[in-house]
Amino acid sequence: MKVAVIQFPGSNCDLDVVHVLRNILNIPTDLVWHKFFQNKIYDAVILPGGFSYGDYLRSGAIASHSPAMEEVKKMAEDGKPVLGICNGFQILIEAGLLPGALLPNDCLKFVCKWVILKCETSRTAFTCLIPEGKILYMPVAHKEGRYFNLEEDLKSIWKEQQVVFRYVDENGNPTLEANPNGSIQNIASVCNKEGNVVGLMPHPERASEKILSPYKNSDGLLLFESMINYLKR
């Protein structure tokens, strides 16, 4: 099993994801410069957070045209796990691999804080070990993370079980206060129809060790463990 973490110019959570995969989970992981990325060598790929191309134009817009994304698309078509975190999620959306759009936060400011998520589906490559309804704690850190989709498409992604996580309060309710950026229906994460491509705004790699969590848990690790489990199946 071998996982790639793609480094775009301006990625800045790349080393954090590599740390979790290599040092916490002992998964063979390559940090790959975007120009050198080839899909065939890898079983899964992660697009890390950051400010690819300085977020010029629109977050993720320029990176989505990198030749690396053609390779990522092939992996997605082959059913291999593809995860986009924060800026990686923005890139997957810009590349058309995930439905919807990510708009500037409703407060118009960068927001870095810990949020509460509820798992909406266990059918994806990154949530297969997370029971539906489970509450997870993770931080967000972004300026353009307000998920948006048209009403019709929202119906469709619910129907197809493409909503993966939502922002909720401690009791699991998707309240206004629990929503850090104004995302429609508190959606924090979506997947493709097949469930092998997942994007999310929160940072699981920052919540993968108890010592980093104000809640003393390692909920983020569940996503990566799910990926391993999915690959082993």
Binding site: P9, N12, K109, F110, C112
Partner: protein, 743 residues
């Protein structure tokens, strides 16, 4: 040699300095050379006024690897790892153009850390603004924070701590200080010097443009109406290029072919080449025609003085040149080969086949020292003697007011805009404890970091202000479980040509030196920013000697936060309370007073308190720790309660005090050397008192944590304060967003 032109009109050298330059060179300098002396001998680059005073600071300890004199101090943190850290001011640019001023401040400091071979791992931002109510303050505050956030977030270096102080003296001239810490293996440290003749000089990163010319001389004068016209002297930041630069530089340094690296900041190419050659005892020859430029037609004067951002200079072993250039190309970093290191002992600059400058680098690097006059301000004694205000009756009401003053109120609005998690090192995040704690993944240990200064204390008594800043910073890192190792300081003062201002600076540094010696914590670097005043009102900023500290936590189990943890926990206070309301938040906010004698910072008392708390934490006795500073004891307790969402019951008569003392003095006095601890049992409390007794710190058990919403302070059974914790939290949280989000 080119023909001489008249002296540049903009030159800021004094007539005496002009004569010295002519004498040193033994001829009439060229136009370019005048410009080079002008920036290198500016206050900002040369420290010509401050050097003799800064010499008073102790600078060595077994842990100090690199002390003052280089770009950053470097301290041993064990197991083969070291931390490089530095602070800088970006006051003048930020006061004119807050967004880019603050952003480029980070850009500069990050390059300094990078130049030591260290990966930047965290940023700290101590900020000072005028009164929060004014439009100008709101504008500066909003855009400084946004500038820091947009830049720091993009380059992936977390902003983990800081401080924000509001005071009318910072209305025109806000203070924006930025500190960066980096992590480096001890055997991979780079020192900023060129010592190998034959090395190729490669200028990398941003293209050179006309921006920022005279930025340093701009920082060496007072802000005025004309300063608005100085906007072109503020550089524009490009964090995206910076991020690539960080990765590229770290990768080229790994090759082993780079012998010297230096950032281009204040003073641009002139400063970088002359300082590196002067330190290495070598020479440099550069050809300006080779520079990659942003605009056509730049003359040699502009090329040598430009302060365009995101540039670094490498001295590369010719054998490894192609490998180094290959890495730069991978990251698409623009570069140009501009010259070489020589053994000529001269800095030779060529342009269009002519020599436009030829100066021994040490002439530039060693500006003549200016001995400034120092005089105690006449009004100070009068300020100390102000009559004590009448003691108020309703202390609950006052406590509600104090938790909501801008200086004490919650700064979540600020730090939520900073990515403080990136890098997966941040264990204690902003807002939750006295200092930020970041783990060193490589060694299993952690560092604690914080910046502190109380400018009102410093204004009334610079000596105790300077000493107090280090005392407070030390308490803060000790409270989270660390041992303080070293600090760097950022001196923000008015015009040093005024003897009263220079006296403030001198006394401030003397106070800092005193505390430094008493606590055995060395200074490893610093920054001096003078001319922080408004030319209209002639008001200098309150003297602000900011201490930026590094502490080491050997065992992660020692990490301690300030929030109350369990109902039933016992509350212990270490350190004595004195009637020291001078310069307090209480005087300023409740009585509208800036006066009185500010708290004395006593080295022996401070040491006793720090040692007590360090030992108590290491013995596993402490469940929460918080130091007393702005707002005094009452505010310290209130914040512990707010953050823990628990109540307290404290008997004020048990608090160790000097006598006689008034109730307001007991509650709000900002005496140093005090830390509040909680511990789980009475037995543990006794043990803490025993440790305190052994170390010579007055201490007592004063109350307990309760499982309700009541914040109750009594004196011999008499109720003094009865507040609701949730109500206090509401007031504490709403001040800053309320001021900034509306209008």
């Amino acid at each position: 040699m080119v023909k001489n032109k008249p002296i540049p009109v903009k030159i800021n050298l004094t007539p005496k300095e002009i004569r010295m330059v002519r004498k040193l060179l033994g001829r009439e300098p060229t136009y370019v050379e005048w410009g080079m002396f002008d920036i290198m001998w500016s206050e900002h680059c040369s420290y010509k006024s401050s050097k003799p005073i800064l010499k008073k600071l102790p600078t060595s300890s077994p842990k100090v690897l690199v002390g003052p004199g280089y770009d950053s101090g470097i301290v041993d943190v064990g197991d083969g790892m070291a931390v490089a850290f530095k602070v800088e001011s970006h006051n003048h640019p930020s006061a004119i153009e807050p967004y880019n001023g603050a952003a480029t401040g980070i850009g500069g400091i990050v390059r300094d850390i990078l130049a030591t071979g260290a990966r930047p791992i965290l940023l700290i931002d101590p900020l000072r603004f005028g009164r929060l109510e004014t439009g100008r303050t709101k504008w500066l505050f909003r855009y400084v924070v946004k500038g820091i956030g947009d830049y720091g977030n993009c380059i992936g270096v977390p902003t983990v701590a800081g401080e924000v102080e509001f005071d009318e003296s910072f209305e025109t001239n806000c203070l924006v200080n930025v500190a960066c810490y980096g992590l480096v293996r001890k055997d991979k440290i780079f020192l900023a010097r060129f010592d190998k003749p034959g090395d190729i000089l490669v200028l990398i990163g941003g293209a050179t443009g006309r921006d920022g010319i005279h930025g340093v001389t701009f920082a060496s004068k007072t802000i005025s109406e004309e300063s608005e016209e100085d906007r072109p002297a503020v550089q524009i930041g490009d964090p995206f290029t910076k991020k690539l630069l960080i990765e590229a530089v770290l990768e080229v340094l790994e090759t082993g072919y780079v012998d010297g690296v230096k950032d281009l900041g204040g003073g641009g190419l002139t400063c970088a080449t002359s300082e590196m050659a002067a330190k290495g005892g070598t020479g440099v020859e550069i050809i300006l025609d080779n520079l990659h430029v942003r605009e056509e037609g730049m003359n040699p004067y502009e090329l040598m003085l430009s302060e365009s951002q995101e540039r670094m200079l490498l001295a590369v072993n010719p054998e490894g040149l192609s490998k180094v250039l290959g890495i730069l190309e991978k990251y698409e970093i623009p570069y140009s080969i501009i010259g070489k290191v020589t053994d000529s002992g001269k800095l030779i600059v060529k342009f269009k086949d002519e020599i436009v400058a030829s100066i021994p680098p040490k002439y530039l690097a060693e500006a003549p020292i200016i001995k400034r006059k120092a005089k105690k301000p006449l009004n100070l004694e009068k300020l100390w003697r102000i009559k004590k205000p009448k003691e108020p009756k309703n202390f609950s009401e006052i406590l509600y007011k104090l938790v909501s003053t801008p200086n004490i109120a919650c700064k979540e609005w600020v730090y939520q805009q900073y990515d403080h998690e990136v890098g997966v090192r941040t264990i204690l995040k902003p807002g939750g404890s006295d200092a930020a704690v970041l783990r060193i993944i490589e060694t299993g240990k952690a560092i604690a970091v914080k910046a502190d200064c109380n400018s009102r204390h410093s204004y009334l008594d610079p000596f105790n202000g300077g000493a107090g800043a280090l005392a407070e910073a030390s308490r803060n890192v000790v409270c989270v479980g660390a041992e303080p190792l070293a600090y760097t300081d950022c001196c923000n003062f008015g015009n040093p040509e005024k003897p009263e201002v220079f006296w403030q600076f001198k006394r401030g540094v003397e106070g800092l030196a005193y505390m430094s010696r008493k606590l055995g914590i060395p200074c490893v670097g610093g920054n001096v920013s003078f001319y922080n005043e408004d030319s209209e009102s002639k008001i200098a900023v309150k003297p602000s000697l900011v201490v930026v500290i590094l502490g080491l936590i050997e065992n992660l189990d020692w990490i301690t936060t300030m929030d109350l943890k369990n109902s039933g926990d016992q509350i212990v206070i270490v350190g004595k309370t004195y009637p020291e309301l001078g310069g307090s938040e209480y005087y300023h906010e409740i009585h509208g007073l800036t006066g009185g004698k500010p708290p004395k910072a006593d080295g022996n008392r401070e040491k006793a308190t720090l040692q007590t708390v360090m030992e108590a934490i290491r013995k596993g006795l402490v469940t929460a720790a918080h130091d007393c500073s702005k707002g005094g004891l009452a505010i310290a307790l209130a914040l512990m309660a707010i953050k823990g969402k628990l109540g307290v019951k404290v008997d004020l008569s048990k608090i160790p005090t000097s006598k006689p003392i008034r109730m307001d003095e007991l509650l709000f006095s900002e005496s140093h050397s005090r830390i509040i601890l909680t511990t789980s049992t009475k037995e543990n409390a006794k043990q803490i008192l025993k440790i305190a007794n052994k170390k010579g710190a007055p201490a007592n058990l004063v109350g307990k944590v309760t499982d309700d919403d009541n914040f109750t302070l009594t004196f011999d059974g008499r109720k003094i304060v009865e507040c609701s914790v949730t109500q206090m939290e509401r007031f504490w949280k709403e001040t800053i967003p309320k001021a900034l989000e509306v209008g």
